[in-house]
Symmetry: C2
Amino acid sequence: MSSEPFIDVRMKGFRERSAVADILRLIDMRTAPLGAERVPSVNAAGRVLAENIVSPVDVPGFARAAMDGFAVRAADNAPLRVVGTALPGQPFAGTLQPGCAVRIMTGAPIPAGADAIVRAEQATELNGEVRFEPEAIPGKHIVRVGEDVAKGSEVLAPGRRLRPQDLGLLAAIGVASVGVLKQPRVAILVTGDELLSPGSVPSGTRIVDSNSPMLAALIARDGGIVLGIRYVADRFEAVREAIRTANADVILVSGGSSVGQEDHAPRAVAELGELAVHGIAMKPGAPAGVGFLRDPDRVAFLLPGNPVSCLCAYDLFAGRAVRLLGGRSGEMPYRTVLLPLAAPLASAVGRVDYVRVRIVDGRVEPIAAGASNLGSTVAADGFVLVPAERETLPAGEPVEVHLYDADPH
Amino acid sequence: MSSEPFIDVRMKGFRERSAVADILRLIDMRTAPLGAERVPSVNAAGRVLAENIVSPVDVPGFARAAMDGFAVRAADNAPLRVVGTALPGQPFAGTLQPGCAVRIMTGAPIPAGADAIVRAEQATELNGEVRFEPEAIPGKHIVRVGEDVAKGSEVLAPGRRLRPQDLGLLAAIGVASVGVLKQPRVAILVTGDELLSPGSVPSGTRIVDSNSPMLAALIARDGGIVLGIRYVADRFEAVREAIRTANADVILVSGGSSVGQEDHAPRAVAELGELAVHGIAMKPGAPAGVGFLRDPDRVAFLLPGNPVSCLCAYDLFAGRAVRLLGGRSGEMPYRTVLLPLAAPLASAVGRVDYVRVRIVDGRVEPIAAGASNLGSTVAADGFVLVPAERETLPAGEPVEVHLYDADPH
């Protein structure tokens, strides 16, 4: 325990609080996507493409059958003599002569000389001859060279978050690896000598660190890589050294972010680089901060120890940087719905309120709970952000609810 | 190459096609969630909870300060003598006597005898005394024992897909591991002797397998675990043996699913177990099948080789089984929007149409492209399912678009 006395002025709270909108702008201005790296295309699901993909080949590279049936010359009249078979990867060897047909399976190369496919359902094969009706139509059921993808065409553009089918297409055109944006590396520093690590049983006045497992899951959701979770002693030098040596793109410091006696992180960031924001006009989450460090370039977020404050400060600010560094949209990745308030929602002009809510019978019910009450975010369906310029919102007003659950079902 | 001749009746296509709605019902009836397994709570993000979580402790376990300030007896009048400090994890040792106050930080235990917190912002400390106004209010800024989570209360219910904040709460209440549903293990068997593996360059009449990388990404999205991707020779015995020995909850066979000469998978499944569905009243995706195998219980999906057919047969049917086995909703995990058609959408009564679409100026434009054209699903914003009972839909009709992109931004 430090014997340093409380200094009056440091207990007076924040002199000035930054507006949420200003901090979002600051993060957007000072956070550019990281560089690119090459990965095997089959491992690139969900990654953000960093290059143009131009197809080096035609797909298909040969005219092929779109249906099972018979390859014919459309000008010929049935019956035709069946002279062979074409299978995928096993072409008919010769050239189709007048009066002849070749059995063909979907995906097989069209024999030279053939210009139409008659579907199996419209044909009857008997004694080496095939009859069919109606007449064959030139080009019918044939996939032309380059019909699916033309050689030289752009198939995917930078910024694309790769879908499952994109991986299929990359395989089909023979692109073995792709340039994607690097994933931001995030270091989590946890301060608070009273904290036990997750998995421990809370005991006496010692409580368990709930922020780091929550943050790790949020970072993974946002495309970041958690480098590690480190518990740092509540001493200025220890906090400063942990921040200084953190080799990451983003440093999250959980706890010790305010203006009290043991809130070392703000001063440490200010000494090591630039403490751009300290104190935010929002509730909860006010005792949060944003800093920038050099050599190497890193952005540091000071997150309050209270878990609800930590969650909302992460989602609004730190998560935004993680998402932007990785080339994603900075917006929070929550689905939103617009629904009316079931009751008035108390707020104050000059600050953003992060209000946990339940949706009951299509109406939005605010949950009253303190910033330490993580259970409220477990029980809630989502949250509403009340803009800084609004006072209490009246019952019935439609509000945008950010839904905590990722799955739309 | 097999020398077996085409058998006329086998080229006639499917005698009967199952309705999509019937297949969905069949999958729902015959697919129950897998058993549970225990995992460390910190690793359980996104997993589906298989048990009730009842809190074994009160949170907080001791009355604590919700603000930085001074712990006082509310009945006392200022000024009060400052007799010590309480920090998180470092309680004030004695009992607070009348006329005294203790400096306290957010999260610190309330000293015995104190019943209110005066916020630092409302207090002035000078010469060992603290003055404040307004008067202290009993209970103010104190988090009571069990106020956030009461011991014995249910905090999470079975079926819950765990959120980041749920992991925080589990840590806070000292629950080190949780029972979650097992993730379905999925084997991918790829048939088609003409196929090269992903990473290869297409050459001559040999094309690259685009289905397996797409399927692997879809399975991961749906919470399944890909056990492996195996290329199987286009011989009946090889296909049969690969299916028989696949030790997985779900077996996906890509290609060879139709009624042609080299379509071995349906007969293999029928021999090994029950071929419950073969041929589906949908476009594309008609040549698909569903089977059930025993010892051990497995569900097998026969997916067409054409990649668009493969994608939609996976999403509608195989993915449904993967999702349900893992305890998720069977519904496709796509966000949907309701928007009007920009042009008529051709369809036929009696089959479901899976139509790739673009959204242009808030209107839905169908993309005309064959089942082999995976690029169409790359260029598309999503797809529309035209119900079996509908014929061509008129321009202007609002249709539900399933959006391919997971991120709402």
